[in-house]
Symmetry: C6
Subunit: 74 residues, 6 copies
């Protein structure tokens, strides 16, 4: 079963969650060790700039997902 | 009730506010603790570079919202 | 009166100024205190990297405005 | 044999993997020494912000690949 | 006379130069003091990361100019 | 002879190389001194984050080149 069978989602909110998933997957594929990622959580979850950077990646991925779904206009 | 029922807004100004909401939501979903986010507020609200980074995320999300609304040209 | 009644501008130069306005508005909405923003001015106005970051946000917003205006080709 | 014969992939997941490949290739072409890149692995694989930056590059390349594939909608 | 009468250029190379001009103009409008900008030149012209950041802004503006010119395909 | 006569390339791989060329040209135009650029090479070629930043610029330029070539779909 693919972790990314499609970019199509039912609603904008689902699309936003998919954008978050896409953002996390690149991190997971670069650092596959769950414990290592867990140790870093404190670092970025308590740094304003780190969180803004995370938000930027989500924004870029949300552009892609929103376009794929024709902005859920149909 | 969804926090993001649609990307369509009545006016460009409403679209800009939605872009801000989208930018904040990724932060909230990464750091759900309201107090933790509140403690960081001082950090980024008084740093020029942090505010510029926030503005960049809003700019990216505003691209998405503006496209969804066909730039409010209709 | 809205601060953003439309994305349509008469000329590319006006569009560029609107991109600057869009870039500043996210900062203003995140840090509404005029004095606080004023105190930060020295920081970013005299740092090459801060100015480059500002220029990046303007570039992203100018993409949006230019698209909205069909690149002033008509 | 080209390392990039096409941007077309069968599935979104394959497209995501291609986006990772595109992201790594620019690094490889800038620093062709395998050992030098290997020594840096520890640095970015254990830094939250470095991983977020990597994720951002993947997001940008995934936009390109997704558009090339018409978002795998066909 | 406008500094930006049009986004249309004759050649891709001219378009690239316009992208550089667009990138610099946001800096100039944020820091209008020529001497202040001159003093910063040494900083960014001798820092690899600063130069990469400058190159990123040019890349974003070049996207806009290239689209405006339909990629000089006509 | 122009350094950028066209954005059209025969293959995706050639397009990727052009994206690298575009990324480097902004650096060259900002710091035209070959020796100065050479001295910086060690800095960014051995820093993971610097290389990721370089890769981001290439990704943005590759978006432009890929669009210009209609993703080499024709």
């Amino acid at each position: 079963m693919s972790w990314l069978p499609t970019l199509i989602t039912k609603t904008p909110e689902d699309g936003y969650d998919l954008a978050i998933k896409l953002s996390r997957m690149a991190v997971k594929k670069t650092q596959p060790d769950d414990d290592a990622r867990g140790r870093m959580r404190e670092d970025y979850a308590n740094s304003a700039d780190s969180l803004t950077m995370v938000s930027e990646v989500v924004a870029i991925n949300f552009q892609t997902v929103a376009q794929a779904n024709n902005y859920w206009r149909d």
